[in-house]
Amino acid sequence: MINLERRKALKAGGGLGLLGLFAAIGLIRPGMAAVETKLFAFDAKSMNEALDALGVIIPQSSEAIHLTVPEIAENGAVVPVTVLSSLANTEQIHILVEKNPNVLAANFTFPEGTESFVTTRVKMKETSMVIALVKADGKFYRIAKEVKVTAGGCGG
């Protein structure tokens, strides 16, 4: 229930800073926020919802993130995505597909010693922007590229 109410509140308030405010006044216990925020982020239906759920406040566009995706994906069920971040102290990489029913595809967390690089494959319902969202030094950065899908990867 807390999550639902929080989502409504986030929508109402445009999401800016409310999460922090709630944490400050104790509506969300700090330990709990980290885990639950991320898991319900996977249910987000729009970019704004996903960014709110991840606690992102207006990510900056960055050239230091390299996102490799095909320009045209013939099969939306298998779209290779590679993200390489040259930002110092990259902690997390999130992969989002803007027009998918659930926007957030995957999160990766990089401990010390692991290179801020990951390759995986995602499903895409239709032509959409693919966004790499990188958390480095506590701040969020992003880069987006469009992938044209000729046959969707969801549904029968």
Binding site: K38, L39, F42, A77, V78, V79, T82, V97, N100, P101, N102, L104, A105, A106, N107, F108, T109, F110, P111, G113, T114, E115, F117, V118, T119, T120, R121, V122, K123, M124, G153, C154, G155, G156
Partner: protein, 103 residues
């Protein structure tokens, strides 16, 4: 108990590259079967890779990761013969762990 993963790990110039191919349906919960009924979501939610007991990568998957998820990542260190282990958990609570030697 899920099906076994394929894991390949090789070290070059002090950096180990790990490639993992998991076997999982990754059902989105949005697809309908032949009778028009929704097929319930069934997908991996968490993945963790370890080297010598130290976590080298943690991931969380949503429904949009492709069937039989593929993952490549690199970490500093690692030597031939040392073990890499990968573990996943899905939304039904099923789990699978596999190991491979670095070459």
């Amino acid at each position: 108990m899920g099906n076994p993963m394929k894991i390949r790990a090789s070290v070059k110039d002090g950096v180990t590259e790990v490639k993992v191919l998991m076997q999982h349906e990754m059902e989105t919960g949005l697809r309908k079967d032949a009778d028009g009924k929704l097929v319930p979501a069934w997908h991996i939610t968490e993945v963790k890779a370890q080297h010598n007991g130290k976590t080298v990568l943690e991931g969380q998957f949503g429904t949009a990761v492709s069937k039989n998820p593929y993952l490549v990542f690199r970490f500093k260190g690692g030597a031939p013969g040392e073990k890499i282990s990968v573990n996943w958990v899905d939304n039904k609570g099923d789990t699978r762990s596999d190991e491979a030697e670095i070459s």
